[in-house]
Each structure stands twice: as C-alpha cells, then as structure tokens.
C-alpha cells in the first residue's frame, strides 16, 4: 500500500532536506566568495485566511512561504522535485524582504513551490513558474534582485509574473539591518529562455 507516501515524502523533506539558503544578520559573517541576496516574492491576491492548511506536527517553514528552488544551472524544475532539488532553496515569506547568503556567482530560480495543504492523507503543492537569473558575480557583497510578483486567479493559474524594482525600500531595510554605508548593488532578476 502506497497511500502514506505523501506523508513519507514530507517527513523525508522535513528530516533530511538539505538546508535552505541561510538568512543573514551580519555582513561580517559572509565568506570572501559569498554575497547576500536581497529580494522579495509577492502573491497577488495574497493567500486568504484558511486557504493554506498546515495541520499536525510539521517541521519547517511552510506558512505563507514559497520555496524558491535554486540551481547554478538553468534546468526545468521536475514535477515532483527530489529531496536534493531542495538544496539551497530560498524560503521566501510572501511580502517580506529576504536576505540570504549565496555564492557570489550567477544562479537561477528554477521555480517555486508553495505547500498549500499538509496533513491528512495527501499534500497539496502549488508550482510557481521560474527561469529567472540571479546575476550575482564575484566581488559582490550584496545584490538586490527585485520583487518577484506572481498574479494568480482563483485556480492558481498565474496570469502575470513581473519583476518589480523596489530598490529604495529594500535598500532602507538593508541599511537598517546591516548598517549604513554598505553597498547594495541592483541587479534585477531577468527571465531567461530555457
């Protein structure tokens, strides 16, 4: 019987999943070949109250959070990502600016995954289109990549995906977090043809 496979997969993800990109609180914690990536994901309209159902004992950040699946090479995100595909993901809380440690080199957002329902016999995932390049480069210490705005309909079909420049607001948050005088280079995400 394979019914509990959803639960097994989720437990495996919670227990064995490789770490996400770590949030950063101090630039001095960055290695010489590392950069802090600053950005945001927005879902329009936002999740309604009760639309996401996380039940039971769940380890991990799932609430109002999309997992941006990253890789150094652009490739299609599999329909059922393997545990290894979660390595280096960005756990982006909708509407909140993320500051995550990354390698100072180009990388790609392959797509996003929102766990809409966890618990019971199955899990419900929503897939967000990807194919965006994060153009960090050697020598960078901080890169602003923009706000990835997903506009959806009631069936979770995405009507419009845009990269919005909110540099001013993000820069203010960046300065408040890491101190004034720190440079934040603007390099907005670009959608790349696969």
């Amino acid at each position: 019987m394979r019914a509990p496979a959803a639960l097994v997969a989720l437990l495996a993800l919670a227990a064995c999943a490789p770490a996400p990109r770590a949030p950063l609180t101090s630039l001095s914690a960055l290695g010489s070949d590392e950069v802090v990536v600053v950005g945001k994901v927005e879902l329009v309209p936002a999740l309604r109250k009760g639309e996401q159902k996380i039940r039971g004992m769940v380890v991990g950040n799932f609430e109002n959070t999309v997992y941006l699946m990253m890789d150094e090479k652009l490739r299609p995100l599999p329909q059922d990502p393997r545990i290894a595909d979660y390595a280096g993901r960005i756990e982006a809380r909708f509407g909140s600016t993320f500051f995550v440690r990354s390698k100072a080199a180009p990388s790609y957002i392959l797509g996003g995954i929102l766990f809409l329902e966890i618990g019971g016999q199955s899990q419900e995932k929503i897939y967000f289109p990807g194919g965006f390049q994060v153009a960090a480069k050697p020598g960078d210490r901080a890169v602003y990549v923009g706000t990835l705005r997903y506009q959806r309909d009631e069936f979770f079909e995405f009507q419009r995906i845009t990269v919005v420049d909110e540099y001013k607001e993000a820069s203010a948050e960046f300065q408040a977090r890491f101190g004034s005088g720190q440079a934040l280079r603007k390099a907005l995400m670009v959608r790349v043809k696969q």
């Binding site: 394979r2 496979a5 997969a9 009760g50 329902e117 199955s122 069936f155």
Partner: protein, 183 residues
C-alpha cells in the same frame, strides 16, 4: 492533449463525507442554482467511479466541497450558487482492489468553471490515464479530455435517469439546452 494530474490514495475506509448530490441545504428549484456536470471514463482505472466532489475555490467558504450524484461515469450537481469551482476528487471501490480516492490537484482551471449567472455548465468529458510512478512515490494518475460523450448526449442521459431532476425546474432548461446544442 493536456492531462490533468492527480494523486491516487488507497485506504481501507475513506471519509466520503459530502459524497452524493447533497446541496448544502439548498432547494433544487432555487433560481440561483446552476447545474454542473461532467463525465469520466474509468475503464483503465482500478475502480469505477461511485462518487465525485467539486471544490468551490471562490468565493471563500468554510465548506468548499460539494457532493455530486454519479451514474456510469456521469457526475453532476444542480445546487451550485455563483462562484468558481473545479473537480476535486473521484471515489470508487471494488471488492478486489478496495477503496480508492482519486485526488485532482488544486492548481489549474482546466476542470474548472466560473459561474457568473445561473445556468448549465459542462466541465467536460475525461478519460482516466495511468501514470507511472516510482516505488516510494505516491501513486499518480491523469485525466485527459476526450471529445465524447458529447454534452447533449450526457444531458439526455441525465434527464432520462434522474426522476427528481425530471420533475424539477431543470427539465425544461435541459431540454432547451439540448435543442440549442443540436442546432
């Protein structure tokens, strides 16, 4: 041909609350009702279909699942108020293979309908497709849109097989719809 993917669950006993054509306490002759129906050919599935649920995705509700009546693959409900809906689950059981629940994902409008005004809405005819999955993966399946049976044929079947429907305000509406489709 686009295939809508889903997850197949096998269990001893499944909670089938909401199955059957329950209308959340609404009257069959309520003028704001819509008739929503569809068909699924389960010839290649482990079981026949004995129940189906439709999920209300808009407006928001605490009770999003609407049961349907099912007859030989034809599923329908005539109680839906205006809103957006999609086919959510199919159920079936067989003596040898046990109870099955076929869950269609939440994402995608291809088995969905937006009801702005009361009327008759056809979700389409589909065929069950087996999808290969790994040993430790959830069992998967797909449903693929097929051209037959056609809407008029299914409406006629509905009219012929459901006495309650035949004696309701729906009978005339269905006949009118069939006539329009046959023009």
């Amino acid at each position: 041909m686009k295939t809508r993917m889903g997850v197949l669950l096998l269990a001893g006993v499944l909670a089938l609350a909401g199955c059957g054509g329950g209308g959340h306490g609404r009257d069959i002759n309520d003028p704001s009702n819509s008739l929503v129906f569809g068909y699924v050919d389960m010839a290649d599935a482990p079981t026949k279909v004995t129940g189906a649920q439709i999920r209300q995705v808009a407006p928001p509700t605490d009770k999003p699942y609407w049961g349907t009546d099912v007859k030989d693959g034809l599923f329908y409900t005539y109680y839906l108020p205006p809103g957006s809906y999609q086919l959510a689950t199919l159920h079936g059981s067989s003596f040898l293979r046990g109870e099955h629940q076929y869950n269609l994902g939440r994402q995608g409008g291809d088995t969905g309908v937006r009801i702005d005004k009361p009327g008759i809405y056809f979700l389409g005819a589909y065929k069950y497709k087996t999808v290969k999955s790994g040993m430790f993966e959830q069992s998967k399946f797909g449903i693929e849109r097929v051209p037959t049976p056609r809407e008029a044929e299914l409406l006629q079947k509905l009219l012929d097989s459901d006495a309650e429907l035949k004696n309701s305000v729906w009978a005339d509406k269905i006949r009118q719809r069939i006539a329009r489709l046959k023009k």
